[in-house]
Amino acid sequence: MSTEKGLNITLKVWRQKNAEAKGQLDTYEMEDVSPNNSFLEMLDILNDDLINKGDSPVAFDHDCREGICGSCSLHINGEPHGPGRRVTTCQLHMREFEDGETIYIEPFRAKAFPIIKDLIVDRSAFDRIQHAGGYVSVNTSGNTQDANAIPIEKENADKAFDAATCIGCGACVAACKNASASLFVSAKVSQFALLPQGQVEAKDRVLNMVKQAEEEGFGPCSNTGACEVECPKGISIENIARMNREFLSASLSK
């Protein structure tokens, strides 16, 4: 594996010291990058070079590097998580790039995701949307009913699962020209709307979560479907349609 030819690439990386500072794109040349390296391993090598030269390394969010924690959040060549489909930045590999290519790396851009430093943005707005209703109100007791006493039609269980696989990375917002969080909000609303456990609080949930998303500064959905294309987990925009139905019926009955 290690015998494959290395890539020479040019990086244009967004550098910004902190939330208040003005940022700019800096240029870095990288030589002989192994195509087997992940994109973030390529940035690790850049950072090691920067540290050895006494420069400040590029700050970026990352953690599991398995495509599941949702920390990584890079806008690569104009796309959230880069050129791959159904893949997070951390699972993107350098073999997807050409020798001699120039790669632009920017943070996710949205008013509701302010920049903290370099490529790191503040996505706590997502947490606050979840606080507004992303739960079933059940206490820990050890006395809930037996799990099999709530049979759930397999089709609904599978759809609820598909919606629940959202990793909360924010690519949907970064991909949307309105910076809408509709795919994110609808994933949680759908998960519970499809399950009997979620029915009791369904109306308040959808109304409160949508309201919170608006207050956080996320824009409206105009059905371009860009979010679905860029979502690393393939969350379907059918969920947005379901959320809209839930929202409408909840608004009418309130």
């Binding site: 090691d48 390394p57 947490d127 739960y135 820990t140 049979p151």
Partner: protein
Amino acid sequence: MSTLDSKIPEGPLKDKWTNHKNNINLVNPANKRNIDVIVVGTGLAGGSATASLAELGYNVKAFCYQDSPRRAHSIAAQGGINAAKNYQGDGDSTYRLFYDTIKGGDYRSREANIYRLAEVSANIIDQCVAQGVPFARDYGGLLDNRSFGGVLVSRTFYAKGQTGQQLLLGAYSAMNRQIAKGKIQMFNRHEMLDVVKVDGKARGIIARNLVTGEITRHSAHAVVIASGGYGNVFFLSTNAMGSNATAAWKIHKKGAYFANPCYTQIHPTCIPVHGTQQSKLTLMSESLRNDGRIWVPAKLEDAKAIREGKLKPTALKEEDRDYYLERRYPSFGNLVPRDVASRAAKERCDAGFGVVDNETKEGVFLDFAAAIQRYGKEQAHIKGIHNPSAEEIKSLGEKVIESKYGNLFDMYMQITAENPYKTPMKIYPAVHYTMGGTWVDYNLMTTVPGLYSIGESNFSDHGANRLGASALMQGLADGYFILPYTIGDYLADDIRTGEISTDSPEFVEAEKEVKDAIDKLVNSNGTKSVDYYHKKLGLIMWNKVGMARTIEGLNEAIKEIAELREEFWNNVRVPGDANEMNQELEKAGRVADFLELGELFARDALERNESCGGHFREEYKTEEGEALRDDKDFAYVSAWEFTGKPSEAILHKEDLIFDNVELKTRSYK
């Protein structure tokens, strides 16, 4: 002499937990409002504890280094969670789960703790379903199960290959409800850097705001550590990049004994190392061993030809393959426990049969061809296709495999650029989980009063080897069903204490220590990056304190780690400032702690003159190469007391008493 009191309740095994719950002190609801609890870490253990304590009425302050509690590394757990529900009617029971776990742990854990774990396991599934966790279901709408290594029943509940994610999001949602009510105060992007003791009791922590660099004091009546394991002491592991032992190590230095540090789980099915610039390893779920067959070439020349790319694995005839797990362990075959499977892979690769073209030639095949054939024929039969062509069978079989393991196969393809439907996967063992951790008594309290440790960060339930799908079970058992009861027993004495001040000399002193250590790191002006030292430490650990350990290797490791630590403090370069977001500084603090922990780890391995579970000493093995336990001299928990340096730590022993199971040589043959 032992100073350890495990506080295991009296009475028959099956009544201990019930009796204990009936006899411990409770705090009345009005008083709970006046009591603060700090929880560090928001994975399955920390998240579930935080939510449950807040529901009970305590004021909880929760801390995580990630930008959201939802990102804790429990999220990456793939395969499933065990529970003794016996929904499959295959003979499962609380006792059987207890027995499998104690045997799987190679008889190095406490009977009472494990029985309690098995007892509450069924409640976990009920609780999670009530929260809306979408577990896999069958067409009748009921919950589905699968099988994991080291057991003969199907008791594993799952949500495709993302069970950890779904369970964590369940705990996160329970937290969100309490955050919305103001019962949980959430500190994201904060790292705990020390615990504060007042009059001998844990009364707070010192934390660093990772966005601003500000050092802050936080007080509480009790502190709960739920910060996970220390697998990243090996640098390369399946842990997240940020997973660290700092909270667990800092409390060790303030008086919490550290138990069984040498018990590490090396998971058999991970994607092999590709080169020196690699940053982490990726697990391929144990569930793949339900259908994959593990093999290497039977002849050395074939292994060489495969490594050099001159021979395709699919071209090798059946008789030229060595399905070594099926050969050595006919009754469990490919589903032997993790420690056994990992050692067997190492044995074949050390003998020269490895199939991966990297420096160490470490890698074996995990082959789905037979399963594809089997499922393909079954599907053809179901669909009424008579005399199906080989192509038809293959295509039908691949569809079944895709429905079961699609996301894992995609991930494998993404990382390796090879298609595992067409050619066998290559896998090799990697560090995955640490069974050792902070010593705790039956109430999950450490040796410091008011200081608790739950989930992977404690040592309590898995002995020397953890069975698959049991980590999620333990994390949620501790957080949902055990700690919320046992902590009340301690806090019942604190109802008149009132708010703990953060202005006391103890807080001032602890904050100063933290700031001094940070200043030392940012002003060290050395020449080598933090990663340079972390990688060096990882290599020492992997080569000398990894899957097979010797007295010589361990002695060398102890010396080399101490020297490396010295060099680190003199020559590390941490760019930037303490008063800003500084990811290199974060890493530096964590590696400084790993450089101490690694030494204690090696000392523990050196002291334990036997082989058991994940701890394998070359000097102690049977003629067939299996682990050779010494129950007469080593049926105890090692609990280390810090006295200033890892080399001077004092060993305390908690004898393990087995009243309900007979100690046997673990056999999966």
